[in-house]
Structures are given as structure tokens and as C-alpha cells.
Amino acid sequence: MSGTFLGMPGNFPKNAEKAVQDSQLRFNLRKATHTIRGKRASVVDELPDWQELRAAGKAIKDETLRHLDRYLVQLEDAVTGAGGHVHWARDAAEANRIVTGLVKATGESEVVKVKSMATQEIGLNEALAEHGITAYETDLAELIVQLGDDFPSHILVPAIHRNRAEIREIFLDKMAETPEGLTDEPAALAEAARLHLRERFLRSKVAISGANFMVAETGTLVVLESEGNGRMCLTLPETLISVVGIEKLLPSWRDLEVFLQLLPRSSTGERMNPYTSMWTGATEGQDFHLVLLDNGRTDVLADEVGRQALRCIRCSACLNVCPVYERAGGHAYGSVYPGPIGAILTPQLRGMGSELDASLPYASSLCGACYDVCPVAIDIPEVLVDLRAKAPHGRAERAGMRVAGWVLGNEVRLAKAQRLATRFRKLVPRRLPGPLSAWTDTRDLPEIPEESFRDWWERHERP
């Protein structure tokens, strides 16, 4: 059973410091992110109207969020009208309570799961386990994470930090029915997983999913996937429970036209994903429950700058281009949402009360690569900077920044500080003390010049 990130100690810089020294992790991440990055670039560059699509995606999401109250009620009516049951969950605890109750009512003690970020966010598997219910992840990468007692480290590819050899080890160690002579060939690993999962699909009476999109107009839920395992879960069991964040809504069926192009190209770098499952309410012979999850989302919606994070369609394009994510890995973010989007989403959903969450808005060099690739144009650097203004600041840093602000606030003070630095320039040590040692540990300092530019100008150029 994979653990939960909640209450994870430490902070991003410390977590990242460990990760950057892990050569295997660095190699796996570099290889994987650069591969997906390249695939995305080629299928995005081939579309002449990508920027228009992107603008449409942004506009549709903004419209939805502006009238979320109305669209949610419309969705509820449509789902109920189609024979489904709609439940509203204020937070993780309430959602877990609802789902646990629904599973218990079926009398089952096992559920199969479609890959879902929302259920990870609320720690559903752990909550079910507390009530004696075992949840089996059926997405291949989620299965690897679950079997390896590991944490997911990427939104799309949760086991991105693992290579084939490591996955083979996990399978040999944790799967009862691994075929003899299992190699680390992708086809062999997929076949082993198929054998392992097939039996569960046929046995399980309850499935739990999330959804990529919900259409308010029709009450339709949509899941995009690559493996077909999701479709097995969605169609075979007698009871289907879907836990979906309230921001996953789209007003109308036609809006899917935009998002079914934006998502696969941004996410897996494919023109079209292999499986798109859509269902409206309860299909024949199946009980359907939709749990609508808030869990902090309405607070995010109230923030004028931060609310754009709710446009996110969980494609992971920002993770795959982020130089910080590539080197720190997903675990350093201590959240199911890693990378640039995680750095703006987690502190908003969880608040910045813990040392870890308060360090996340700083887990970026503000290089802007994430904003460029975001299919719904979330200005991640803008939100990061805004969150930094709200984050708690250490006392020493605050004092230092205040002094710097005072010196820079006036040219006479700045010139005096520059002359002071110039006078003592030969005394500056090669290694600086205190927090500034973070610079000189790996980098030389520039030489302080004999004279600042302004003093040179004053001597040479002033008429």
C-alpha cells in the first residue's frame, strides 16, 4: 500500500538536496522527461492553431469557474436524471467517509481503481484500508508504485523515477504469479502486469475512478487513458464510484472538442489517446455514484491570482519541461501534485502552515518554461510570486531583505555601500559564512571592481 504524503516532514530544498545526489534517479528522470518533452513538442508544433486552441481552453475553463455554482447544479441534475447518485464532499474526510460507506453497503472488501489524482489527494486507499477494504490500483504505473510501497512522483507517470530493471525487481518481489524468467523488456513487464490484473477485473464487484472531465450539460463523465485498464474498471464491476474535483467541469459537450485535443498532445505527446471512456449516469446493470470533491478548491477560487490553477487539466507538460523537477524529482514536493503545478496547487489547497508547504512556492527559478507549455495558459510564475508574498518568511531573511531594501531605496545609500564594498574588496573571503555559503559552496564570487559604474560616470562623464 503506498503511503500518504500528508504531514511529511522536511522542506523542498532539503528533500531536493538528497535527490540531486541520486545518480540513478537523475538518469531516470532526465531520460523520461526529455523523451516525453520531445514527443509533446513534435505533436504540438504540427498544429498551426495550437495557440488558438490554448486560448479556447483557457476561456472555457475561466467561464466554467466564473459560474461554477450554476454548472455544478446543472451537472447534478443531469447525472441524477440519468440514474446516477450525486454526493457532495466538503473535504477529504467527508469524501472518504462517503466512499467507504458506499463500498461497505455493497458488502465487498475489495475494489479496483482507475488511475485518479483526486483519490490520491484525499488518501482514499489508506482510508479504505482502515475499514478492511483493499484497493487495487490497475494503472500500470500506479500498480508499480503500490507494489513497491512507494510514493507517486509524477502526475501522468507516477513511477517515472523507476527504470525497467527496478520494476522487474518489484514485480519479482511482490507479485505472487510472476512468470518464470521475467525479463525487463517492456512487453514482458506489461504481460506480467496483465496476468496479475486480469483476475482482479473479473473478480471485483466495485470500482473507483476519477474523471478528466465532467460535462454539465449532459451529465457525462470522461476518462482518457492509454492502457484500457481503466475501461475494464469502468465497465465490468456492478458498482462504480467516481470521485471528481469540482473544477473538472466543462459547460457543454462541444467543449470536449478543445480538450480532447489539448490533453493528449500535452500529456503523453500523442495526437489522440488510445482509450476515451464516456458514461452518463448509471448504465444498465450498474450502480453509479459521483462524489464531488471540494477539499480547498473554493478557497482557491476566491483568490484572484491563484484561481487560475483550477484551470489545470493534469497533463504534466509543466513537469516534463521543468528544470527543477527534473533534478529534484517528484517526491521532494511532498504532495501528489509535484512539479510547477504542484508548487502552486499544494500550498493553495493545503495552506502554508507546514515548513514543507511554505517552501514550495520557492521551488522554482521562475524560468517560465512551464507557462509556455501549459495547454490552459496558467501563468505559473505569476502565481508563484504571488504565493511568495503570502508565505511566512524567516526572521533573518526578513531582516536582510529589509536592509537591502533600505540601501537600494536611495542612490546616496547605495553609493556608500558600493564604496564600502570596493574599499574592502580584497578582504572578501573565498567562502562566505552563514546562509551566503550556499553561493560559495559551488561557485566562485565575482571580483568586486575597483569602482562602481556610478562612481566612474561621476568622475568621467558628469559635465
Partner: protein, 243 residues
């Protein structure tokens, strides 16, 4: 044309040579250069580290100092991007501050933008017989969208051999206070950038931002790599006469 030089606090304090190069280059191209002595800092470090109040104070100071010029030229893509892209977000739309920013910000140019878009010159008459690679820096690339302007300027420099930098668009890991707040990741990014720089066999690494160069150059120096850093302005200012 009355041009104000916005030197930036980092260049003023640590890289005065870049400022002198801009002055000599712009004068060679017929500009009258003024240095408003009251200028200090654009406030980027404060705003981007979460100290908005101090940052806004510095932004207000900047707009007062630089109002009334035909053009303001900065030898820094990052500081120019701060003024043009981020200043408008610091003030309430319709406020007096917004009006002041709306007046000054569009006149702030990064050096290569000013040369190509305003002065309409690509060949500045420079001579620099060395093997050079160019790092585009994030705020120049994705903030100001400088595109190939620096490369076009460098391509006309006599004697200069411009070698493409692999993975040029990737951040070097400086990121302002990121460099000290996340030193491990910053150094890891710097190491990869340095590896790519060394792979080009260039003797000079050039960029439009001395702060990024300070980080990459500091890493190169620590490794005794034998590659020197130079701001774009310093290469463009060099002629056969000045050598």
C-alpha cells in the same frame, strides 16, 4: 535621441565594464546617453522573493527616475522584463501608479531590442576574433521574447565564430534568490549548463544578463574550466581600434 541608461544594481556594483561598454557602443551609433544618477534597483529581487512592499517602493522610485526619456536601455533582459512584464501587475488597474508605469514601461528596452528595433542596426561595427557561445537566459527568451536578435547582432561581428549552445533554452539555475534558497538544485542545473558550454569548445560564454553569467561563470571558475564570461554589450563595443 535622448537615451537613458538603466545600468541595473548588479551591473552598477559588480560589472561596471558592461555599463561602460553600453555607453561607448550607443555613442558610436550616434545616441546621446544620459545616466540618471538617482537610479538604484528595479525591485526584482524583493518582488520575486515575496517582499512586495519593498519591491513596490523600488518600482515607484524607478518610474519617477526614468519618466520623460525617449528610451531607457538596460543591459539586462531580466530587469527589462521586470519593468515591462511585472510592474503592471504590482499596481491596481486605473490607479495613478498604473498610469505612471504605463508611461515608462513601454520605453524600457533590453540592449539588443533597442539596437535592432529602435536603431534598426544589426552590424554595429564590432570586431572580436574569438570562439563564442551564447546563452539566451530565461527572461530574455520567454519574458521579452528576444528571439534571434542577439544572434543577429553577433553574426555581424567581424572575426567572431558563434557556436550554438546545446539545450540553450534551459535555465542555468540562477533564478535570483533561488540560487541560495535552493542551492543543490541550482548547482545541479548550473553543472548541466556548464557541461553544455564546455562541449562547444568556446573560449567565451556570452549572455544579455550578468546575473546568470555570474552564476555560470562562478561555476566555471570554481572548476578552473578556462572559459570566460562576457556580456553581449562588451563584445559589441569592441572594435579593431579598441581591441
Amino acid at each position: 535621441m535622448r537615451v537613458a541608461l538603466f545600468i541595473t544594481c548588479v551591473n552598477d556594483t559588480l560589472f561596471p565594464g558592461t555599463g561602460k561598454a553600453v555607453v561607448s557602443l550607443l555613442r558610436r551609433l550616434g545616441c546621446e546617453v544620459d545616466f540618471p544618477a538617482a537610479q538604484t534597483c528595479c525591485g526584482q529581487m524583493h518582488v520575486n522573493t515575496g517582499y512586495r512592499e519593498e519591491g513596490v517602493r523600488l518600482a515607484r522610485h524607478f518610474t519617477e527616475v526614468f519618466s520623460g526619456y525617449d528610451a531607457v536601455v538596460a543591459p539586462s533582459g531580466s530587469c527589462a522584463a521586470m519593468v515591462r512584464e511585472q510592474y503592471p501587475k504590482l499596481v491596481r488597474p486605473g490607479s495613478r501608479g498604473a498610469a505612471a508605469i504605463g508611461e515608462v514601461a513601454p520605453k524600457v528596452y533590453e540592449l539588443s531590442e533597442f539596437l535592432i528595433d529602435v536603431l534598426k542596426v544589426e552590424d554595429v561595427g564590432a570586431y572580436f576574433p574569438h570562439r563564442v557561445t551564447y546563452h539566451p537566459t530565461c527572461h530574455s527568451l520567454r519574458g521579452l521574447r528576444l528571439g534571434d536578435r542577439p544572434a543577429r547582432l553577433l553574426s555581424h561581428v567581424r572575426g567572431l565564430e558563434l557556436v550554438p549552445l546545446p539545450a540553450a533554452e534551459e535555465c542555468c539555475g540562477f533564478g535570483g534568490t533561488f540560487a541560495v534558497k535552493n542551492p543543490a538544485v541550482s548547482a545541479a542545473m548550473g553543472a548541466d549548463k556548464v557541461r553544455n558550454v564546455l562541449g562547444t569548445g568556446a573560449e567565451v560564454l556570452c549572455a544579455a544578463d550578468n546575473s546568470c553569467l555570474m552564476h555560470i561563470g562562478g561555476t566555471l571558475n570554481r572548476q578552473k574550466a578556462g572559459v570566460r564570461i562576457m556580456h553581449l554589450a562588451e563584445i559589441l563595443a569592441t572594435t579593431e581600434a579598441t581591441g
